[in-house]
Subunit: 303 residues, 2 copies
């Protein structure tokens, strides 16, 4: 039996201000978010980065939960913070939590979405219930060896809530509101699973990660073109043949390999991904039939 | 006679990437921007801040051109940089430039606008010509003792070009395009003044700065509410009585003093102004009749 049902983490990236602000307001006003009878732990993921208003101090905390890094001792600030969080709230920690919600924001026009890392039944069950309540899109991140070590992977069940568009360093009421609704929907879903009355929806729609594209770069790694202004803000909209992808400084369209028909871009022009050489990621929309027993995995965690 | 007609400064703030990228592309492709026969100097205002992807290193460079700071010796990075820029390209510098264009971006939904500091005839003449060509709004910043020391004030004529919305740290084709068009319109206006064929428009529309508003803050300076989601993105739209201004974390509207009827907000939720305790600034729209002799001030500078 876990000490708490849910760990809510905000500010895993220090320049994403909305979720930490919401948690602070929640501390002052305990009925701000309905926890649906669940026991909740909440914290700021990377307080040092938040104080510095930067994504991270030494390395991206949300890429620091790789097993090889966690097994080392010492290391930089985020490596130590990852171990500290797991040691305290992880499944074998001092105050273990069953489920983790990791709250993020993006500069991309994604709206509110759920991000899953891999195909764990408990994650899929929770995400499907929230999708059925709020209609949020689900981005299934998997099979990308360049992007690993996400926080939620180290808990037996965990989702990222990703809300945008909002610039880094900006508090925006709409982002706070969408974050609050997503948290409450997760709590309600988990409470309904515990109460045993819930059924899974028959289907879940996922956007499965296929890979990422970068802008064309020249020597010295400088972009030679930018995301085309007709693509900017078109997250979740399937590519059509001949869609313009990149635009040069004079406004001309740059010839690029055609995107796979009906592949769907996400995280278009996310500020933090420029350094990762990602202009956008590509997904494929798939409708999966849920297996009823996926719910059992989640139910067991909450028993 | 100045050594160059125009100094174009990009990256006065190190996390505003679009104008520096445009200048770099212009270096590689000299016909990217039509300089209309003018001699141009161009540079990155704060290269150290740009390398660090921060607005500034020690202090805001665009508040460091105060006479009292410029008359000191030593000081922090931006104080020294301000003196260096003036010593080289200022009106009494080694390579003096007549007019300065300082290129900025904002997270606020301002579109492309021109910012003037005070009512200098040459600035007004240039801004009126560009407004007449492109229709851009003009924000006249004056009489605000809390905001002084702007770069353009130290040249005999100078405008800020401000383009948004774009998150800090993001390159966006639309922002680059609008910046490019504004630069070219300034060059064309200046060239037409030099050629002596131009007449001023009879009128210019300015949005005169009245002051700034902050979000409500509690102890420890934390915001207690945010810009209301119905106000977000409504830059340049006049306030009406009973307009909602701020929103609490639970989505409720916070009671605030009514804004003056027909006052017009700008820089709504600009990321960099949170630390200056500015949630938005207020302006009043005024239509001014141009004095024909204002053109002479600009014409003299270019002779």
């Amino acid at each position: 039996m876990a000490a708490s049902d849910v760990l809510v983490v905000a500010g895993t990236h220090g320049n994403e201000l909305n979720a930490p602000w919401l948690l602070e307001q929640w501390n002052r006003q305990p009925d701000l978010i309905n926890s649906a009878g669940l026991s909740i732990q909440r914290l700021v993921g990377n307080p040092q980065a938040k104080a510095a208003m930067r994504r991270y101090v030494d390395r991206d905390l949300n890429r620091s939960f790789r097993v090889d890094l966690l097994e080392q001792s010492g290391g930089d600030l985020e490596m130590r913070r990852a171990r500290e969080l797991l040691g305290r709230y992880g499944p074998r920690g001092d105050e273990p939590c069953s489920v983790v919600l990791d709250l993020h924001s993006t500069t991309a026009a994604m709206g509110c979405s759920l991000v899953l890392y891999g195909r764990r039944p408990a994650d899929l069950a929770l995400a499907a219930l929230v999708q059925s309540a709020l209609g949020l899109p689900i981005y299934l991140h998997e099979s990308d060896s360049a992007q690993t070590g996400f926080l939620v992977e180290r808990w037996p069940c965990g989702l990222v809530v990703e809300v945008g568009p909002v610039p880094q360093g900006v508090l925006e009421a709409r982002i706070v509101r969408q974050t609050r609704l997503a948290i409450e929907a997760c709590f309600e879903a988990l409470a309904s699973v515990r109460s045993g009355v819930v059924r899974l929806p028959r289907q879940v729609v996922v956007h499965r990660h296929l890979g990422s594209c970068d802008v064309p770069r020249g020597e010295s790694d400088q972009p030679q073109a930018l995301v085309h202004q007709r693509l900017q803000g078109r997250d979740w909209v399937p590519f059509k043949p001949l869609d313009a992808i990149f635009e040069a400084a004079d406004g001309s369209t740059v010839e690029t390999p055609q995107m796979e028909h009906q592949s769907i871009p996400v995280f278009i022009n996310e500020a933090a991904y420029a350094e990762k050489h990602i202009a956008f990621s590509l997904t494929r929309r798939e409708v999966w039939t849920m297996e009823p027993q996926w719910l059992d995995h989640l139910s067991e965690l909450l028993s």
